[in-house]
């Protein structure tokens, strides 16, 4: 393409990028601040003048405290376990549900889908007390199960995957039936590979939400051994508020890092998944 107004085009691009950079900076600022604080000694944190890079480098001490004062690796491991289990259960429930809602014809399907939409409207906090009571009845409070089971069914996941499954042509499913695939095999061999970007996107939503979740673990769990990272980080604050800002921030950095790495790895697929959603 030949630009008719090269000057104007260039100015437009500069303006576009300026806006994008500004927004990105705005979003990144808390992270930068977090990293900066995690490297500073306690005195400097409360100083009036602000340096991005600490005048006295205290990073080693802060990170040592963060890693030793609390069982940080244990928290990370718990986080990994809980998030993996939640996501696995969600897939186990969502994929067949979404397939049935998208591609099978049965009486009451639309009513069921409306029920899913209603479920989407409910804030998870509203269900906290019923969940708490139920877990108490089954004697599951303060266990891994208490962290995992309430999230096993994701209405958001059912909704998202149903939309994706609907975009797969019926003829492919008919062809698969004629080729001798059963319904579960159609899901496994056709639907899942064809909607991999959507599943990745859903995975990121799910893992980020539950890795960072503080509300529910705070209610369901008291033991340190099964605390998730977000809950574990509270230990720093609880002890002597204020004094431990450096290690607290160091802990926060350690907790955020795995998510960032995972996102960077899955970034391409995540964006593909979202792009497909917007196209429909």
């Amino acid at each position: 393409m030949i630009a008719r107004f090269p000057g104007r085009r260039f100015a437009g691009r500069v303006a576009r990028h300026a806006i994008l950079i500004l927004t990105a900076a705005f979003a990144l600022l808390p992270f930068v601040w977090m990293v900066s604080l995690s490297l500073k000694p306690p005195e400097e944190i409360f100083q009036a003048d602000f340096h991005l890079w600490p005048t006295a480098f205290h990073g080693v001490e802060n990170y040592r405290v963060a890693l030793t004062a609390a069982p940080m690796f244990r928290f990370l491991l718990n986080g990994l376990l809980v998030c993996t289990a939640i996501f696995a259960l969600q897939l186990l429930v969502c994929i067949p549900c979404a397939y049935a809602l998208a591609k099978l014809r049965f009486r009451g399907r639309d009513t069921l889908f409306s029920a899913v939409l209603v479920g989407l409207l409910l804030p998870p906090q509203a269900l906290a007390i019923p969940h708490f009571v139920m877990l108490n009845v089954f004697g599951l409070l303060d266990t891994y199960a208490a962290l995992i089971l309430p999230w096993a069914i994701s209405t958001f996941g059912i909704f998202l995957l149903r939309q994706f499954f609907r975009s797969i042509p019926d003829e492919i499913i008919r062809a698969a039936r004629l080729d001798g695939l059963g319904e579960f095999e159609i899901i496994w061999r056709i639907m899942i590979p064809m909607t991999a970007p959507a599943l990745t996107a859903f995975g990121i939503f799910s893992v980020v939400a539950h890795w960072n979740d503080l509300f529910w673990p705070l209610i369901a769990v008291r033991r340190e051994e099964i605390s998730t990272p977000a809950l574990g980080i509270l230990l720093f604050r609880d002890d002597e508020a204020g004094q431990f800002f450096g290690p607290l921030m160091a802990g926060a950095v350690i907790i955020v890092a795995p998510l960032l790495v995972a996102f960077l790895i899955a970034q391409r697929r995540f964006i593909d998944g979202l792009a497909v959603t917007t196209m429909r």
């Binding site: 003829e171 008919r174 062809a175 039936r177 001798g180 695939l181 095999e185 061999r189 064809m194």
Partner: protein, 385 residues
């Protein structure tokens, strides 16, 4: 027609009989009491305008769709409660419906794998390690390669469907259907996504494939030219009803119903109502019966003559020269419609605007009543007189 030898693989006999098939979606009746028998080894085409229920009928034969009433019989056995995979049919879809995440080889191998490997051998991850799988995979590979070389796609086995052209995808879809030697091939508008040139080429290839396999083909299309050129017999459907079944030339020369006459043949058959005929001052041909409301004649049954008193007269509106034939569109007076006339290029040239008379061969005149039904007796009287 009739039973052909089956050189490629061993397919079962398959006569299909549909008995009073009914299907509706909600309030709309899509298929209305269709009965049809399809002979073993026959190439039968279901033709009709879009939305006439022909694809639904095909899916009912495949078992992908359940009819509300009626029976589907294959070789005298009712298959109503058999699932698609148990019916020994294969289908080629309009969109080809290839699996986009699998390469051509795996697309072709899938129907064989689902049939030959046991449940355990098909399990993800574990299945590969199970005994016996290697041997089965080997024979599958050989059969896929044989089918692929028959269709001239052997060099594409490692590509994904997204990397293929329309014609290549079409071949892969055919390959996936034939690789497991079904007794019946069902094709749902398989050529409508191809460009005109490729369509003609694939038409010939599908006919050749039918000859080679010798199994029953049921082919759905809205294109009467495909129906006429490819089929042993054609079944014409409109609005869920089966109007007529017959050999292509029979449908062309001897249609039961005005809608069949209008659907088959290109350019379309000329239809002039008796009222127009009279109002234009032409005398009705001999033998036209009181029930007859419409007279129809093919473009080749009309000749151009000088305008005359007792015949249909009009003015040449446009001329279409196709090389071998020239079609004249003759506008009848008073807005009574147009008549298409086929003329020979060697004959006298007609320019638009020239007044002409139409000379219609009375033996080729078809009479229809107000419901569109053919009036045969009246025609016989007319031919005799």
């Amino acid at each position: 027609m009739g039973v052909r030898s089956r050189p490629y693989g061993l397919a079962a006999m398959a006569e299909i009989e549909l008995r009073h098939i009914e299907k509706s979606y909600g309030e709309t009746a899509v298929v209305k009491g269709v009965s049809l028998s399809i002979r073993d080894g026959e190439f039968l085409t279901l033709v009709g305008p879009s939305g006439c229920g022909k694809s639904t009928l095909l899916r009912i034969i495949a078992g992908l769709e359940e009819q509300d009433d009626g029976e589907v019989m294959v070789d005298g056995r009712c298959v109503n409660d058999k699932r698609p995979k148990e019916r020994d049919v294969a289908m080629v879809f309009q969109s080809y419906a290839l699996y986009p995440h699998l390469n051509v080889f795996d697309n072709l191998a899938l129907p064989l794998r689902t049939r030959r490997l046991s449940f355990a051998q098909r399990l993800p991850f574990v299945g590969r390690a199970l005994p016996g799988r290697g041997g089965i995979e080997k024979t599958i590979r050989a059969e896929v390669e044989q089918a692929a070389s028959m269709l001239d796609i052997a060099h594409l086995l490692h590509r994904k469907p997204g990397q293929l052209s329309g014609g290549q995808r079409q071949r892969v879809a055919l390959g996936r259907a034939m690789v497991r030697h079904p007794a019946v091939f069902l094709m749902d508008e398989p050529l409508s996504n191809l460009d005109a040139k490729l369509r003609v080429q694939m038409r010939a290839e599908i006919i050749a494939l039918h000859r080679r396999l010798g199994v029953t083909f049921v082919y759905v299309t809205h294109d009467q030219a495909e129906a006429m050129t490819m089929s042993d017999r054609v079944a014409v459907m409109t609005a869920g009803e089966l109007l007529q079944v017959g050999q292509p030339e029979q449908l062309y020369r001897d249609p039961q119903d005005l809608r069949v006459a209008e659907m088959i043949g290109s350019p379309k058959i000329n239809v002039v109502s008796c009222d127009h005929w009279i109002s234009l001052g032409a005398s009705l041909p001999p033998g036209v019966d009181g029930n007859t409301t419409h007279l129809a004649f093919r473009p080749e049954a009309v000749g151009i003559a000088a305008p005359g008193d007792r015949r249909l007269n009009g003015v040449v509106a446009s001329v279409e020269n196709l090389g071998a034939d020239i079609f004249l569109n003759v506008a009848l007076a008073d807005g009574c419609g147009t008549v298409v006339v086929r003329t020979h290029p060697d004959g006298s040239r007609s320019e638009p605007g020239r007044p002409v008379g139409l000379q219609i061969d009375p033996a080729c005149l078809l009479q229809f009543d107000s419901a569109g039904m053919r009036q045969r007796q009246a025609e016989q009287v007319g031919a005799a007189g």
